[in-house]
């Protein structure tokens, strides 16, 4: 009697798992365990539309899906859309949605699946003027989104672009669960209590600001192995590292460069390098008559020993760059080498440019008899120890060739105003981060020099303008690559920036978490496959 009952129950269970409704994964790895990850700073909002900070962006990767996602090699793969087709003019994309994706189970949402209404609704919310979202500019290229039937969506672009699929990776939200289905504002409770389709669902936002997420048992790819993922925000980077080392956190998203050696030596953790497509630079303001001279800018770069700075301050973990693209990018021209360190050549160039008299203070003199000096404006931040080191070293290097650098620290918002609006600066030190499109048009096109535009250095060159426009509009990937490589070579010669380096970022994760793969900047795209062995849970 008992055997029959047990057999019946077992058979029932097997049947359930085979049907895949409440599916566990059948990859043989165990379920269970929790992952606490620490970040510097807190997310302002938790939904994918209003979020405007990196912490929020990474968090939404756990809670939401989009039409498409990315593989570890950053290729486009299906996500909520199982297949798609493109019209011959490359403007109309038709997506067929999966029918088995459920919204997170929360009161009021019930057991609904994702439909075309949700996809169209999400895009409409993003484009609505009342929705204040950083995504608006990115989705300006969408002309129209239409539902063809319950599982089919048609998106029409205003003009064909390269890698449109990658650009259409917005996360889908349940517009029926918003306070107002047409737009999303920050006072909508949804932004602090979001509902998505992702591998994890929001369980609790504790008073301490921890975000507790639990495994979504009906995730369409199967329940993720981890039971819980908890985001723990920190206000101090040193304490964050200590939290990792003393078991208050299992993972740190970006480890301080000075702590990498220590964590590398610690057997409990694995370090995962990832290269965000970003680089650091010194920007030179063309509105300063001295910096407008090419020889001066080139001299500045020759005078700066960037390799020594990279080795000293970042333990060499990164690479010098020679041009305006990130080295991991397909547009980077590997044939163009970074400007070598050559102070003698720097002095030559300065003499060529007309600065040959040295004053009594040791600095070169301009025609007015004043020392050749520039102000480097740096934003005040709490944790910018390496930026300070770089700035001080830079000051030192330029002193050797007779240029005086004055460091001026400005409060963050005031700095942005000086740099982007008033253009009241000589030089700045900053970073650019890119997406895959390698679109530098906003950085160097002469039309982008107004207030709040990215060409704050005021670079203007008609030849470069033409090339930039061509690279942006062409649909021929190879042609794009050729043009970009030429752009790279030209800009490397012009030095509107002193291009510095791209750094390798490291995430530290406790060894107990296995099968870890990271997306270069979204990080948690594959978190559903991570697991913790039974005995380490």
């Amino acid at each position: 009697m008992k055997c029959a009952m047990v057999a019946g129950v077992v058979a029932g269970l097997l049947a359930l798992s085979a049907s895949g409704i409440a599916g566990g994964r059948d990859d043989g790895f165990p379920d269970g365990g929790k992952l606490v990850y620490g970040e510097y700073g807190r997310p302002a909002t938790l939904d994918p539309i209003t979020t405007n900070d990196m912490v929020g962006l990474r968090l939404t990767e756990l809670l939401f899906n989009g039409l498409v996602s990315f593989s570890p090699k950053n290729e486009v793969v299906p996500d909520l859309a199982e297949k798609w087709s493109v019209s011959p003019d490359n403007r109309v994309y038709t997506f067929t949605l999966r029918s088995d994706v459920k919204w997170h189970s929360k009161a009021g949402v019930g057991d609904r699946t994702v439909t075309a209404d949700d996809v169209v609704g999400s895009l409409e919310v993003i484009r609505q003027p009342k929705t204040l979202t950083p995504l608006k500019a990115a989705y300006e290229l969408v002309a129209e989104a239409r539902k063809l039937d319950a599982q089919t969506v048609e998106i029409t672009l205003k003009r064909p672009i390269v890698n449109a699929l990658g650009r259409l990776s917005f996360k889908v939200v349940p517009t029926f669960a918003l306070k107002n289905p047409d737009f999303l504002s920050r006072d909508d409770p949804f932004v602090q209590n979001p509902v998505g389709t992702g591998p994890f669902q929001l369980s609790q936002l504790t008073d301490e600001g921890d975000v507790v997420m639990e495994a979504n048992p009906s995730y369409y790819k199967g329940r993720p192995h981890l039971d819980r993922v908890i985001l723990k925000p920190f206000a101090d980077k040193n304490v964050l590292t200590q939290a990792l080392l003393f078991n208050s956190a299992d993972m740190v998203v970006e480890v301080n460069s000075r702590d990498i050696a220590q964590i590398q030596g610690d057997k409990r953790f694995n370090l995962y390098p990832y290269n965000a497509l970003s680089y650091a630079f010194f920007g030179h303001n063309y509105r300063n008559p001295h910096l407008a001279k090419k020889e001066v800018r080139q001299a500045i770069t020759f005078a700066t020993n960037r390799q020594e700075m990279l080795d000293s301050f970042y333990s060499g973990r990164g690479a010098l760059i020679s041009g305006p693209f990130a080295p991991g990018s397909w547009a980077y021209n590997l044939d163009v080498k970074p400007v070598p360190f050559n102070p003698a050549r720097a002095k030559e160039l300065l003499a060529q440019a007309g600065y040959s008299k040295t004053g009594s203070d040791g600095y070169l003199q301009t025609d007015e008899g004043k020392p050749l000096q520039f102000t480097l404006k740096i934003p005040i931040e709490k944790e910018n120890e390496t930026v300070k080191r770089v700035a001080l070293a830079f000051q030192n290097y330029l002193k050797q060739v007779g240029i005086k650098i004055n460091l001026e620290f400005r409060e963050w918002q005031a700095w942005k105003q000086d740099v982007f609006v008033d253009h009241d600066f000589d030089m700045v030190i900053a970073n650019w981060a890119f997406d895959d499109s390698a679109d530098i048009s906003t950085l160097f096109h002469s039309g982008e020099t107004g207030a709040w535009r990215n060409n704050f250095v005021g670079y203007s060159n008609p030849e470069i303008d033409a090339m930039i426009v061509e690279a942006k509009t062409t649909l021929d990937r190879e042609k794009q690559r050729t043009i970009n490589q030429r752009l790279h070579a030209l800009l490397s010669d012009e030095q509107p920036y002193t291009f510095l380096w791209t750094l390798t970022n490291y995430a530290a994760i406790h060894k107990k978490v296995r099968h870890v793969e990271l997306h270069p900047f979204k990080l948690f795209t594959f978190a559903d496959t991570w697991y913790i062995a039974k005995k380490e849970q």
Partner: protein, 292 residues
């Protein structure tokens, strides 16, 4: 009346010092010593009498411990710590004096107004003082720095202004005590003009102790608040050294066991603040013992 008797039997200065309790002697000696040292170092740094150039970097010898070449070691870009500590006195000496002067000047004014004519001024002055007290200091400094620039004189001016209530309240309370003891009424009844009563009797005789104490506390606070601001990023900025920004820089190496970088300037802060406090306390005790 007894004052005349005391004057006649007045012991010599040396005898008086010898009669001090031990703790007061230690405090005065230490305090005076520290104050002299700080002033001496300040003058030396202004005259540029320093072991090294405080801005000279040596990327090959960063975070070094004390050695023959660098008596206190080097910082995160290889600059000599001793020289930077010396130049660091400039970051609080004059600015601190500014802060203290502002708070004492206006504090005394308001305190006297509120104390002498409570009927007329108590409400207005009281409100003004509570207004100054209620505004969060650090937030004010952030906004002022954003509006202008990260200038230590500006920052400590703001601190001085926000310290006016403390000074005013002390003076007002002391005046209230004097009134209770009918001291002031008596003086006026004796025919002394109110201005003389205020200046000589209240401010000089009774107030100087308070002023002294507030001055020493104010200088101490100037250093400590700059350190908190440096932690938040807003203190004195590079490449100018200040003890606060040196401690803040060192924090990034603290947990790895490299405590030196942060502890040396913290030690300087401790000794200086301690010196100021002890000196102030000892002098205050002295004044109070002599009947102030």
């Amino acid at each position: 009346m007894s004052r005349f008797l005391e004057l006649a039997l007045e012991p010599s200065a040396w005898q008086r010092v010898r009669s001090w309790p031990l703790h007061r002697t230690v405090a005065t000696v230490f305090g005076t010593g520290m104050a002299t040292l700080v002033v001496g170092v300040y003058v030396a740094s202004v005259l540029k009498v320093l072991p090294h150039d405080p801005d000279a970097m040596d990327l090959g010898a960063v975070n070094a411990l004390p050695s023959a070449a660098h008596l206190l070691g080097t910082d995160f870009v290889g600059r000599d710590l001793l020289s930077r500590i010396m130049v660091g006195t400039q970051a609080f000496f004059l600015p601190g004096l500014l802060s203290v002067s502002v708070s004492l000047l206006f504090g005394s004014l308001l305190g006297v107004l509120a104390g002498f004519w409570p009927a007329r001024f108590d409400t207005v002055v009281g409100l003004l003082l509570q207004l100054l007290e209620s505004l969060p200091k650090l937030v004010l400094i952030l906004l002022v720095v954003a509006l202008f620039r990260a200038d230590i004189y500006l920052i400590l001016l703001v601190v001085g202004i926000t310290n006016i209530p403390a000074a005013a309240e002390l003076l007002r309370a002391r005046i209230a005590v004097l009134r209770r003891k009918s001291y002031i009424e008596a003086a006026i009844a004796l025919g002394l003009p109110p201005s003389r009563v205020i200046l000589k009797h209240v401010l000089w005789l009774h107030g100087r102790g308070l002023v002294l104490i507030q001055a020493t506390i104010g200088m101490g606070e100037a250093i400590l608040i700059e350190t908190s601001l440096s932690y938040l990023g807003f203190g004195v900025q590079e490449p100018t050294p200040s003890w606060g920004n040196m401690v803040a820089l060192g924090k990034d190496y603290f947990f790895r066991g490299e405590l030196w970088l942060s502890t040396v300037p913290a030690g300087a802060i401790l000794l200086t603040v301690l010196g100021f406090h002890l000196l102030g306390d000892a002098l205050l005790e002295r004044l109070e013992a002599s009947g102030a």
